[in-house]
Amino acid sequence: MKRGKLLVVPAMGWLSLFFALPLLIVVVVSFASRTAYGQVVFNWTLANYIRFFEPLYMTIFATTIVTALGTTLLTFAMGYPVAYTIAMILPKKWQQAGIILVMIPFWINFLIRSFAWVIILRSQGVVNTILLHLGLIQKPLTLLYNDAAVLLGMVYALLPFMVLPIYVSLEQMDKRLLEAASDLGAPPVTAFRRITLPLTMPGVAAGSILVFISSLGMFVVPDIMGGAKSALIGNIIQNQFLAARDWPFGSALSIILALLALVMILLYYKALQAQKGGQAHAKNLA
């Protein structure tokens, strides 16, 4: 082995020990059963996977997907204008500041930020207090512990993951193309629709994948802001491990979620490849 290759040993060791091995354990446990007291018995069964298809879990799974899709759509609708403003409208010297502003929330623990939303939205919270004082409402609104609150929390948490890849693709776009479009008679809105948007689709796709997959596994937000009614698949998995002591079922659900994420990523690469492949094909024809 070349000596340079030895440099990867620490990283490989770390990943094997703390990533590959635990994953393997999860896969193995997902085919096991548990005793009445929560001990894991290795009897190689598909029962955990079959149980996933029970209506109760299918409903939760469907809710999870819908929530994740909603989150993705909302972060796109809100994130694109933010990224566009930073990359295309702000003067060059303010762009860095804009990106730092997007990332500042990461400096504070996510749990604390989620609880901050509770303080803002609860019955005696900031919003309700202000509205009551202004006399706009007679009794506090239920802003917390419903699906809308979960969606709000998710969008809040994942917005930067949409903004950053879109910002990068806008930043990399050749701005002279917009001058060319204008020169050829395209008003600004048309130029955006026909040039900017198509050319930044890779950024939009990357952001969507990041947000969608992250929201699939999210359990902190529904836990804190959704209350008991709005459980998502992430909460069920957390429950199996920490409360129900059913590690095998929790493992099976994790694997299903991971496979779904994997399929999404593969589809994304397929789409990218199709784009590039099409070009390579055309080149061969030439």
Binding site: D174, R176, E179, S182, D183, G185, A186, K283
Partner: protein
């Protein structure tokens, strides 16, 4: 098309030419720095005009102001007698060929060319006709379905031109369009562009820092320096009768000699007009300037000719002369020489 071209040639000679572009008192400031001091310029219909100057001289800014991509700080721009000063680029009937082509990478050649026609809501059938015509004209028919990144620089260049001319603009603006091409291809494209312009009869405004390109292609060369027009003349006149030291220096090579008792002007003499001889070999001659004496410093081989560098005795000034292969006398370093020139070959230029 041939007929049309001849027609225009005739039009150019008659005194009453149709004005296509008129810049009146144009100035441009960036961050309180003046790039273009007040500038007036008129360009006639069907002319091939080149803005020539070193990089940063403001020539591209002038072009971009005509396109509407920059707005003048003061002054007015008229296109075909219409004041377009504050008109957005997408409302102006001019098109630009960008320096780095700026082709849309997600569109095929055909889609790139169609873009402008779609924006102007040209009927589909006419779009197809015009696209076919321009593809034929630029020899891009076989590349119709390619994407820009699958083509060579020269091919991309042609797409950029096709995408602009398909719109039948009143004026075609070209911003160093051949800058990114290699020497051979550039020569070929110069010819193609000139022929295209003759065929279409569209007004071309061409920006370059390449003097040879400017001289070969244009009807009129405008030398721009520091945002000002140094000289505005046909190519031959620009070459033979430069008005200023800058113009004389920028176009071709030149030697400058002080004029006694006149510190406003210099004498410019091109190397090919410098006569080199042995010291005091020939008698003084009234049709020629008096001798200057010096020694040969260096001889450079350039292919067609040799360049002879001579240092003058009393001024220490370097003079460039040419030596041809059939010259009887071959100079070598340290030879003592005398130089002079025919008085008619010297041009008086401003400092």
């Amino acid at each position: 098309m041939e007929f049309k071209a001849n027609d225009r040639k005739k039009g150019c000679d008659t005194p009453k030419m149709k004005e296509m572009i008129r810049l009146v008192g144009i100035t441009k400031e960036f961050d309180h720095t003046t790039i273009i001091p007040p500038l007036d310029l008129t360009i006639n219909d069907g002319e091939f005009v080149t803005l020539l100057g070193p990089s940063g001289c403001g020539k591209t800014t002038i072009l971009r102001m005509i396109a509407g991509l920059e707005h003048p700080t003061t002054g007015h721009i008229y296109l075909d007698d219409e004041d377009v000063t504050s008109l957005a680029p997408y409302k102006r009937n001019v098109n630009m060929v960008f320096q780095h082509y700026a082709l849309f990478p997600h569109m095929t050649v055909e889609e790139n060319i169609r873009f402008g026609l779609m924006m102007k809501k040209v009927p589909r059938e006419e779009q197809d006709n015009r696209i076919n015509q321009v593809l034929y004209l630029t020899q891009l028919e076989d590349l119709r379905y390619r994407k820009p990144q699958q083509m060579s620089g020269g091919q991309q260049q042609r797409v950029a031109i096709a995408r602009a001319v398909v719109n039948n603009p009143k004026v075609l603006l070209l911003d160093e369009p051949l800058g990114a091409l290699d020497y051979k291809l550039r020569k070929k494209m110069q010819l193609e562009l000139k022929n295209l312009q003759r065929g279409l009869g569209i007004t071309f405004i061409y920006v370059t820092h390449d003097q040879e390109e400017a001289l070969t292609m244009s009807d009129r060369v405008i030398i721009v320096n520091g945002g000002r027009i140094e000289q505005d003349d046909p190519p031959a006149r620009i070459y033979q009768y430069p008005k200023s030291q800058f113009a004389a220096n920028f176009i071709g090579e030149n030697n400058f000699f002080a004029i006694e008792g006149d510190d406003q002007h210099l004498l410019a003499v091109r190397p090919q007009y410098i006569e080199v001889s042995d010291e005091k070999e020939e008698p003084e001659d009234s049709s020629r300037a008096p001798f200057y004496y010096g020694s040969v410093v260096e001889i450079l081989f350039t292919g067609t000719i040799d360049k002879v560098y001579i240092r003058l005795d009393n001024t220490n000034q370097m003079v460039t002369a040419y030596q041809y292969y059939d010259d009887k006398k071959r100079w070598k370093a340290d030879d003592r020489v005398a130089i002079r020139w025919k008085t008619e070959d010297a041009v008086k230029v401003t400092k």
